[in-house]
């Protein structure tokens, strides 16, 4: 990273830096070789960085005239996000310089927070310890002791369903390439809900929808949700100085911003639907949700359908056309009278 920054080949590198305690890391933009010393890669690095590329596209950090590529650190799961961006033609492959890393799994702070007592972690350990990988399992190292964790209790849910530890596209790879890429299995949680009757399903989902506060955190952090004019948010209509008052007053409002069950249902369903063929299962939505809603149950359902109905996987190959911009003669049509 130092090299590419100091040679001027890359304008800014997106990576992680240490966060507020040893279990947390946050996305950071490294602008020059000295700042690059603060970059880390440890089990604390849970945020997906692809969203930062999009943020930079909207508000270029180095100004609109700097055409040098952006650098980014990518794990086995994030590469799908970069591939999706290339497919959507938001960026070209040459616009990013990718450092691929071999990732054995990162921690979920929400899970960890609940287990501090059980694992015997004091606040001091939390502040001063260091999270490391030991034999590809997460451990907390402090000056006195080392605590090993059970992966299921501490890793992010997506890490428990890992499809491959190293990315498929990269310019430099740190670590050994993972040859065993598993195709995603159909998540059991989704199948579980599909088995229920409509009333049981609604009982489950009504509870979820009633807790949503419409903070839009899931949309703001989401890797695919980068539309500047959002279909479910009537306040994001694109206007210029020529937009008439009548136009602004008559903008279509598909769903209001109130946080009642029907509006939340529409918001969450539509967001999941807009992600069909685009959601890469980065778990940022679940991570960001202040109410702890199981949002990925919707997104994984849509991913599963994309696979079973259309044999389509998001972020698999750059050559794949986006899901709904193409059709096939053999698309399922039995549900149509």
């Amino acid at each position: 990273m130092r090299e590419s920054l100091s040679s001027g080949a890359v304008r800014t590198f997106i990576g992680w830096e240490q966060g507020s305690n040893s279990f947390r890391a946050r996305p950071a933009f490294f602008r020059n070789p000295d700042e690059a010393d603060g970059a880390i890669f440890s089990p604390a690095c849970s945020p997906c960085l692809v969203r930062m590329v999009i943020e930079d596209l909207h508000y270029p950090l180095d100004g609109p005239d700097d055409r040098r590529p952006l650098g980014i650190v990518v794990r086995g799961c994030d590469d799908k996000g970069i591939i999706e961006l290339i497919k959507d033609r938001r960026i070209c492959r040459e616009d990013v310089v990718i450092i691929g890393v071999d990732c054995p799994g990162v921690v979920d702070w929400k899970k960890a927070r609940g287990r501090l007592e059980n694992e015997g972690i004091s606040y001091d350990d939390l502040a001063n310890g260091e999270l490391i990988w030991k034999d590809r399992k997460v451990a907390l190292k402090t000056s006195e002791k080392e605590i090993n964790f059970n992966p299921e209790k501490i890793l992010m849910n997506k890490c428990l369903e890992c499809e491959g530890h190293t990315p498929r596209i990269y310019d430099v790879l740190i670590g050994e390439e993972d040859k065993n890429r598993n195709l995603a299995q159909h998540p059991k949680a989704v199948l579980d809900i599909e088995e229920r009757t409509p009333d049981e399903k609604w009982e489950f989902w009504e509870d979820v929808f009633s807790r949503c506060i419409r903070c839009f955190a899931c949309r703001n952090i989401c890797t695919y949700c980068y539309c500047e004019e959002c279909a479910v948010d009537p306040t994001t209509l694109a206007i210029s100085e020529d937009t008439s008052a009548a136009e602004k007053a008559n903008r279509p409002e598909w769903v209001g911003r109130d946080s009642t069950v029907p509006s939340n249902a529409v918001y969450l369903m539509l967001r999941a639907y807009h992600g069909s063929g685009r959601c890469i299962n980065c778990e940022e939505c679940d991570r960001a949700c202040p109410m702890g809603l199981p949002l990925r149950l919707l997104n994984r359902k849509v991913r599963k359908d994309a696979k079973t109905l259309f044999d389509y996987e998001a972020g698999n190959r750059v050559e794949d056309p986006p899901l709904f911009s193409h059709y096939c003669d053999t698309d399922p049509g039995d549900f149509i009278w």
Partner: protein, 152 residues
């Protein structure tokens, strides 16, 4: 509190070139079918996105029908292919959340199929009526109005 027998309100999105003409033909041929649909004419079935269908449910629709040209016969050549793909996905998502599968239906009705249009609507209404009014996804102020109507 006497109330009339429940009659579902169906919003029907009909494509201009085939289904709307088919519905028109059903009308001129005096074909009897359930009078529950409120028609919204769109130029092509591909115009309809899940936004529309969800909005219809939010406003109190008990069922939504989407009808377009037969595959291969779209006036705009490809619209109904896209609609088919899109709604194959969406229909699953709707059901997954707990909206009864009978409440949303797609059909292909051509301009000469007046008879079929009548049958599609009657069959749809027959499936939806036993489910009762759709209350899960009705937006709050609309729900109050609906309840006030029922009580009257």
């Amino acid at each position: 509190m006497e109330s009339e027998e429940y009659s579902p309100k169906i919003i029907a999105f009909l494509c201009n070139w085939c289904s709307y003409a088919g519905a028109d033909l059903a009308g001129t041929s005096r074909i009897q079918y359930s009078p529950n649909i409120r028609v919204i004419k769109v130029m092509c079935s591909a115009r309809v996105s899940p936004n529309f269908i969800l909005k219809a449910f939010l406003e109190g629709a008990d069922g939504v029908l989407l009808s377009g040209c037969h595959i291969g016969d779209c006036h705009y050549l490809k619209g109904n292919y896209f609609a088919r793909r899109r709604h194959a996905m969406f229909v699953n998502l709707l059901q997954y959340v707990g909206i009864e599968p009978q409440r949303f239906q797609m059909s292909w009705v051509s301009a000469s199929e007046g008879q079929k249009f009548g049958e599609v609507v009657s069959r749809f209404v027959k499936n939806v009526a036993p489910l009762g009014p759709q209350k899960k996804m009705v937006v709050a102020d609309r729900l109050d109005a609906l309840i006030a109507e029922e009580v009257k």
